[in-house]
């Protein structure tokens, strides 16, 4: 289904193994394992409350998982155990960036400033941790100009150049979504995690978003992991789909495989528990017949 070449045999960028997250007595995620392959667009789907955002928060360090291992392998081969890193280190050194379900922009800063904040660590180093930059020594000036150019590049990609000097809070919703993605890209990530990027977008904005995501992958080779509700987005752009329900993985495969998985159908159609077995047997019977 996916228009880009599906890279089934490429290596794994993020390996999630036996991830569990407990809130009080509630098991939000229970022994979840899946792989995100380098260069792929991987979608994490599931009904409301399935624990998708919790998985994201564990990967990006906002929650410390109760159990499990999250291994990030960079292009260079350098490996990081994400569950052991503080949240900001995950973006800074492990190179995993994220966006949020309810957009978190710096609304009082301009669009351009938002993208400059995202290049903080690089610029800090260039400014000699502020000290040298303050007295005007060192490469800060050139590096700051370079940062603006990078920002301009991502603004062009996200179709936001015209709004560069407006406050981020002033942008329409769809543009804010694209800005948040552009901002995350300015951190130079190898894996970009998007939490419901298409939520609340109209069809036109949704199409623009799909184009942006495809361009990101094509141009930078960044792997994408996204949570999505909108099935059309998922089916259209993802190479690999992981389905969660009640904190457990119920299916994992290509969009086509997942679409026809009876457990997924049951989860999405909201079949009663006792009927699930029934549906499964029926579908299995059909598949068996087809084989």
């Amino acid at each position: 289904m996916s228009p880009e070449t599906s890279s089934m045999n490429s290596d794994v960028i993020l390996k999630v193994e036996h991830l569990s997250m407990k809130f009080g007595g509630l098991m939000a995620i229970n022994d979840l394992s899946f792989d995100v392959r380098r260069g792929d667009i991987t979608a994490l789907i599931g009904p409301n409350g399935a624990g998708k955002t919790t998985v994201f928060n564990c990967i990006t360090g906002f929650y410390k998982p109760t159990m499990g291992m999250l291994t990030m392998t960079q292009k260079s081969g350098q490996q990081y155990l994400l569950e052991r890193l503080p949240d900001f280190e995950i973006t800074k050194t492990a190179k995993v960036a994220r966006t949020f379900q309810n957009i978190r922009l710096f609304s009082g800063l301009t669009v351009l400033e938002n993208l400059l904040v995202a290049q903080h660590n690089k610029l800090m180093k260039a400014s000699g941790y502020t000290v040298l930059g303050l007295v005007g020594i060192g490469p800060y000036k050139a590096e700051a100009q370079n940062a603006i150019e990078i920002a301009r590049h991502w603004l062009e990609m996200a179709d936001l150049v015209d709004r560069a000097d407006d406050p981020a809070g002033d942008l329409p919703y769809g543009a804010q979504r694209r800005l948040e993605i552009a901002r995350a890209m300015c951190t130079g990530p190898e894996l970009l995690c998007l939490d419901e990027p298409a939520a609340g977008l109209n069809p036109r904005e949704s199409a623009a978003l799909n184009a942006l995501l495809r361009n990101i992958r094509k141009e930078t080779g960044t792997s994408l992991l996204l949570i999505e509700h909108d099935m059309s987005v998922v089916m259209e752009i993802s190479d690999h789909v992981v389905v969660l329900e009640y904190g457990q993985k119920i299916s994992d495969g290509t969009p086509d495989e997942v679409k026809n998985d009876p457990k997924v159908i049951a989860a999405y159609l909201g079949v009663e528990d006792e009927e699930v077995e029934e549906v499964i047997s029926v579908v299995e019977g059909l598949q068996g017949g087809a084989n």
Binding site: T53, N57, F62, Y63, F100
Partner: protein
């Protein structure tokens, strides 16, 4: 051992006063999320009102029974501070509701400065001593328990029970709790939010007035700048107990009172406030939401 129990009693008395003031902080914080910095000065105003009423009573009716005098002082002080706090909320805080978070805080600090200086200007900068109202002391073994302390502790318990009943069992309390949870939704459901907030301010002020009157009775003196230190300590108590929680405010108040009196008794009196603030800082660093406060979940 007797010494310890004696100090415990003193601490409990002091803590009751802090607790009564702390409730006003915690309620206002709970309902509109602002630190009402002027609340300490409302407490001071309560003490002044009681003091002036006492002077009126003793000059007009020389032989008035102490119990009756105390009752009138309490009632007038409560009405007076209730009116003051109602007016302050109406004039200074309501126009800023829903505005920028620091604006009401600055207004409240301004109001606090204005109130204490208003009293300084109108009543003079000197301490205002009154003759002791109640002086009976009961000796139980080596422990002396004064009638003042009994009155303060009993009154605190009684008021808290009434208060607890209002907040948990009446429609008014329900409106308050609803407004606290979600002001917009409460308004949509037909709760008069403005009125509920006004009543909250009046209730908080009335309790502060009781505390002020008790303070006057206990120490026999009140001065225009008596609002700040007890105010800060009461706020400390509210935070220590978990701001927004009523039992927390009382618990915090009592804890602060105990820390203060025990520290003064066993260590050096000079550093008693350092101890209070130090313990607050440590408590918050290790349990940032206070003892009974609901944990704040970081929404991502």
């Amino acid at each position: 051992m007797e010494y310890f129990i004696q100090q415990l009693l003193n601490g409990l008395t002091l803590g009751s006063i802090y607790g009564l003031v702390a409730i006003g902080y915690t309620m206002v914080y709970g309902i509109i999320g602002m630190i009402n910095f002027a609340h300490g000065d409302i407490f001071m105003l309560g003490g002044f009102a009681a003091m002036i009423v006492f002077l009126i009573l003793t000059s007009l009716f020389a032989g008035i029974p102490v119990a009756l005098a105390l009752l009138i002082m309490l009632i007038v002080a409560m009405l007076m501070t209730g009116l003051w706090n109602w007016t302050i909320e109406r004039v200074a805080y309501r126009p800023l509701r829903g505005s920028f978070r620091l604006a009401p805080l600055i207004t409240a600090i301004g109001m606090s400065i204005a109130l204490s200086n208003f009293i300084q200007v109108t009543q003079g900068p000197r301490n205002k001593p009154i003759p002791p109202l109640v002086s009976s002391v009961y000796e139980i073994g080596a422990i002396s328990l004064s009638l003042k302390q009994i009155i303060i502790i009993v009154l605190t318990v009684v008021l808290l029970s009434i208060f607890w009943y209002i907040v948990n069992r009446t429609p008014l309390g329900r409106a308050q709790r609803a407004t606290q949870q979600d002001r917009k939704m409460a308004a949509l459901l037909g709760i008069d939010v403005d009125r509920t907030i006004s009543i909250t301010f009046i209730m908080g002020a009335a309790l502060a007035a009781v505390a002020g009157t008790m303070y006057l009775m206990y120490y026999g003196v009140v001065s225009f700048n008596d609002g700040f230190v007890p105010g800060v300590k009461a706020f400390t108590a509210a935070v220590l107990g978990g701001i927004g929680s009523l039992p927390g405010a009382v618990l915090g108040g009592i804890l602060i009172g105990l820390i203060e009196s025990l520290w003064s008794a066993y260590f050096t009196i000079d550093y008693k406030d350092v101890a209070t603030f130090g313990i607050l800082a440590f408590a918050l660093i290790f349990k940032p939401t206070g003892i009974l406060g609901r944990p704040e979940v970081e929404k991502v």
